[in-house]
Assembly symmetry: C2
Homo-oligomer: 462 residues x 2
Amino acid sequence: MTSDALRHFEEIVGSENVVRPDSERAQDYLKDMADFPSEPLVIVQPTSTEQVSKIVEYARNTKTPTVPRGAGTSLTGASSSHGGIVIDFSKKMNRVLKIDAVNWYVQCEAGITLDDLNEQLRKKGFFFPPDPSSSSWCTVGGAIAENSGGMKCFRYGTVKDWVLALKVVLSDGTIVKLGEPLPKNRVGYDLVHLICGSEGTLAIITEAWLKIIPLPEHNTERKRMLVFFDEWVHAGKSIQGIRINRIQPTLLEFIDRESMQSVNDGFDLKIPVHEATLFIETDSQIENILKICEENGSTGNYIAKDDADEERLYNARALVYLGVKALATGFHTEDVVVPLDRLTDYLEFVKSTSKKYGLRIPTGGHAGDGNVHPVILYEKSSKESEETAEKAFSDICNYAIQVGGSVSGEHGIGEQKISYAAKQIYQHNGKQALELMKQIKMQWDPDNILNPLKFLDITESY
Amino acid sequence: MTSDALRHFEEIVGSENVVRPDSERAQDYLKDMADFPSEPLVIVQPTSTEQVSKIVEYARNTKTPTVPRGAGTSLTGASSSHGGIVIDFSKKMNRVLKIDAVNWYVQCEAGITLDDLNEQLRKKGFFFPPDPSSSSWCTVGGAIAENSGGMKCFRYGTVKDWVLALKVVLSDGTIVKLGEPLPKNRVGYDLVHLICGSEGTLAIITEAWLKIIPLPEHNTERKRMLVFFDEWVHAGKSIQGIRINRIQPTLLEFIDRESMQSVNDGFDLKIPVHEATLFIETDSQIENILKICEENGSTGNYIAKDDADEERLYNARALVYLGVKALATGFHTEDVVVPLDRLTDYLEFVKSTSKKYGLRIPTGGHAGDGNVHPVILYEKSSKESEETAEKAFSDICNYAIQVGGSVSGEHGIGEQKISYAAKQIYQHNGKQALELMKQIKMQWDPDNILNPLKFLDITESY
């Protein structure tokens, strides 16, 4: 980037809010949480939507790519930049603007973390339910752009279900508001949900109006527990049994032996380790749930003793990704979703893929949603190991497509899954559906300056 | 329409499924539930998505407008046709295709009524929550195209929150599936929600995959009750009090004296009649709710005695529209939403508008969502009365826009509110937001054959 250009950015956001790529501060921007590399031209930390507008105007005029960035907790390279302007919202656009206790929404800037948001909401008796494992770092803007999930989404839905309205900057720098901060609104096409999960490829989110609800009262009926199994498929069959019996637990998570062991090793949580564990929270029908698990081969269970113990179980599951990540130098994180009637087949397929390629694939995730994450481990130093891991990754994506599932439930597409996403749309939805999406991208961002090389920026033909 | 054209349709759908405009059967298609008139060229009753595709292909080739139609329960003229092909889904495309008891979805054709759908779901222990008052007639396709609401939407959300995937016919006749019947899917832009609430202007819905949930167990804590007031604003303040105290009833409806009287008169339900009544259902905090109402001026209450009595109260509210409709020859049904902190101001505004113009405006609706429906009555025989009613209608729409509300919460735009919808978008969202919407319409339907003259088909400039 020319020094003229850098000076231009310094004029827009102030010199202290421009991070030059060769500076010490730029180190924080060179990879995401899954180690996807990034080489930004420049990092800017705007303080207002108007500044973002000016930055995008420059980008449009000079055809320079832009990448909006929260905390960089993407697991798919969605916040990586290869020679573009990184717009970091986490530093100077991280305020709550309004907590509306009558209309039950919060208006906030894109860069606030979910935990900081919930900290402020808690003081007023409210909360924002979606809880990605990265909630202490990840930002509202990133969570909307990625339509993030989490454990509580089994009960409450994913981020998209909580977004009422957005302030965004379009690719020509125009600022618009999409949607209305109202419980219902039937005016115009739903552009809010077009933006949710669009990974910064259509517009840049600067502010959001999010639904909030009262903190739940202490529910003495609520129990958190672990149920243990000697076989993955027994855990899978138990989940299917719970569904067929129309029981609605509030959390329903799967954790395999290796994942649980890694959490114990990394965080000293002293959780019993079994071949497979279901982590369940429920308000009702605890006996029925345990009975269904027994009928499907459970070997025992553990019910949390008190609030602190409940917290320990929740943390164990939330820390799986960090625990597993420490097991090898390289890893591919899968995020496929399968229809729940195919869940046991899928778990068997992951097991057999692990055997077939001689790879360790610790596996855990949101089993109640059919969204269990295998993490394919390999050694970065070995080209062969890496290539084998890629084959396993590909097999699992293709398996999900084949059984009517999705290649991503909550992590998104980013750089990681472009070709698989295109394949899924092509096979499940039809070529014309992919065309409609590409036309929308073309309409909203004719110069492809908004997070290019991601999502549906497909070079191959299908 | 030429006899060649009619023969072409008879070849596509079979002669028994073509209704000629001059036939006896065509009488059913000449108005909607709110008496918006319709003059179709022809009515076709296809039996498959492939037939719909062929019909649309013909329409595209001949630039003939098409209007998809369920039961014609639109309150805004959305299903009216002025010289086009009406595609009626209610007669031959009204089947449930699959109830999936593991994945918790139902796949059905667009023409099934919500009550028929729920009847079939009930047998398997499930239900589909959204409950427009017209649920015994209105169809799934119409409810999605209109993103309908209902009383239960206060707790469960509107139709859009329950749509997983759609089969649609595009304006060139192509058949595509949008979305996936999965709890989570992060692949591609969210085109499903672009279609929800688009009123048949982007694509024609032929099948839907809808989320379903288990029928609730009998909840002994649940109570339905009426709370009475001498002043509308006291009811409004009570609602605000309930919200500020972070209490979540499951139903929260407002009914004024004239509406309640009309229901008693029309359906002999013998409900006590007061100046204003709140109809409340709650699982908890009944004493707190009653206390808040008392503090805000309630004059009494009535708690349902048994299941049949609970049903009676629910029906009283559900029948308000039909009761009120019988009071005059002409009526404009309002559907504005106001922010809940403006609810009492809004109720006062409706009262004063009624006085200002000397019009009867019975008022009832989803107060918990800020979506209360004034019905402006007039006499069709008097031009003056009609014009005065139009002024009141306009005043209320403009008031909603002015206080940050919406001109429609659940009835949609249709022919009725095009200019108000455009005004709202222009003022609240920005001119560019309206442009983006119009560009999407242009992209999806370049010849404007999909339900033209509705929604955002704006002729005036803003």
